[in-house]
Assembly symmetry: C2
Homo-oligomer: 200 residues x 2
DNA sequence: AAAAGACTACCTAACGTTCGTTAGGTTACA
DNA sequence: TGTAACCTAACGAACGTTAGGTAGTCTTTT
């Protein structure tokens, strides 16, 4: 039995584990599943990680890390507040569209995540873009509740993507409703002008 | 034909299983867990249900049934389109606030639900209120994409609730942001007037 | 430069536990 | 007496995890 030429390291394993956890959740993925995806035996995973929970936490950390940086680019847009909002929404939507794994992991964390993990995600991934969104909200609608506005912006974008599986079966559901440019245009219009703004 | 007073029937078991499934998901709840909640042994569950999956599906069906009816009351509001929207948002928000179990189950279905179940939920639970929302959207913003508007309305309400666990750790998060009247006022303002409408 | 030792990354085999599920017996009420 | 509702006991499978072994690779010593 010849051994593989190149040994696996932690990062390789985590990168292969992330999509599994995203698709089936913590309890839905066994150590044997992960090992099989990596191409080794389950017992060998314990050479790299002390237990499953640690592996999972490190996979989550890896999946979420660098995400904050991605969001930062969505905040580089300059110009009028309206233009900056439109730019942010567009970039954020495109980013989220391209990363179903991230969305699934986030959803799972919102359902099952413990306080420690949620706190970590909040401060390390979302805090910076969230603050920028709040500042933008305060410019566009002074005196409003910036926190609620920021959540609303994220809601509009993310829920259109989250509900994709069921929207297919709801009246009026079309394939184009999943396209980032369609979503971002709708959301921008709605945010800037209310319901009257999303018809154009 | 008449059951002994002390005996459990299917409905009792399902009602006790629903919150367990809502909290921990299908794989996170064992037959022994359910039996323990009911006050019987796991083997006895097989007197009422052929297997775990059937029990789960019937629990889901029960959790979602009569929900459509609850939504119907949110559509009884009359008056100007603006007033009807405000009324619908308020009632729908209050309804969702009171039912974290339903929200959790819906979220889990969006993540893990197969096509058949999603189709069933779409047609039996959401179709009717969704059509009404679309009609309302068409009145308020003729020519708009009613499907997207309806999703946006639901997004705004549900995501404010879904993100409650993480909003605590995001800047500006306050306890009142989880109150139905605060959410519905914010959402109504945003929908009718855009960002400028949620400051007042 | 070669041998000896240590280390890394994997293996096979198995452990104890929990799981869904089944078989067959018991009890209480019609 | 029949049947519905429950029980105890146990099955096999899958799970996370551990023990102990092996084959290459790197490091040190002679």
């Amino acid at each position: 039995m010849t051994r593989p030429v190149k040994s696996k390291n932690k990062e390789d394993i985590l990168d292969l584990a992330i999509p599994l956890f995203a698709q089936s959740g913590y309890t839905g993925v066994s150590m044997r599943d992960i090992a099989s995806a990596v191409g080794i035996k389950a017992a060998s995973l314990y050479h790299h990680f002390p237990d499953k929970q640690t592996l999972y936490l490190q996979a989550m950390a890896r999946a979420f890390e660098d995400k904050a940086q991605g969001f930062a680019t969505a905040l580089t847009v300059t110009g009028t507040p309206e233009k900056r909002l439109a730019g942010f929404v567009q970039i954020f939507t495109t980013l989220m569209c391209k990363d179903p794994e991230f969305r699934a992991l986030l959803q799972r964390e919102l359902l099952d995540g413990d306080e420690v993990r949620l706190k970590k995600i909040a401060s390390e991934v979302f805090r910076e873009p969230f603050v920028a969104m709040e500042a933008l909200a305060d410019e566009l609608a002074p005196g409003c509740d910036a926190h609620m506005v920021a959540i609303s912006i994220a809601s509009l974008i993310l829920y259109h993507l989250e509900t994709a599986p069921i929207r297919r079966y709801l009246p009026g559901g079309k394939a184009r409703h999943n396209k980032p440019e369609v979503i971002s245009r709708h959301v921008t219009g709605l945010l800037l002008h209310g319901l009257k703004g999303c018809g154009k």
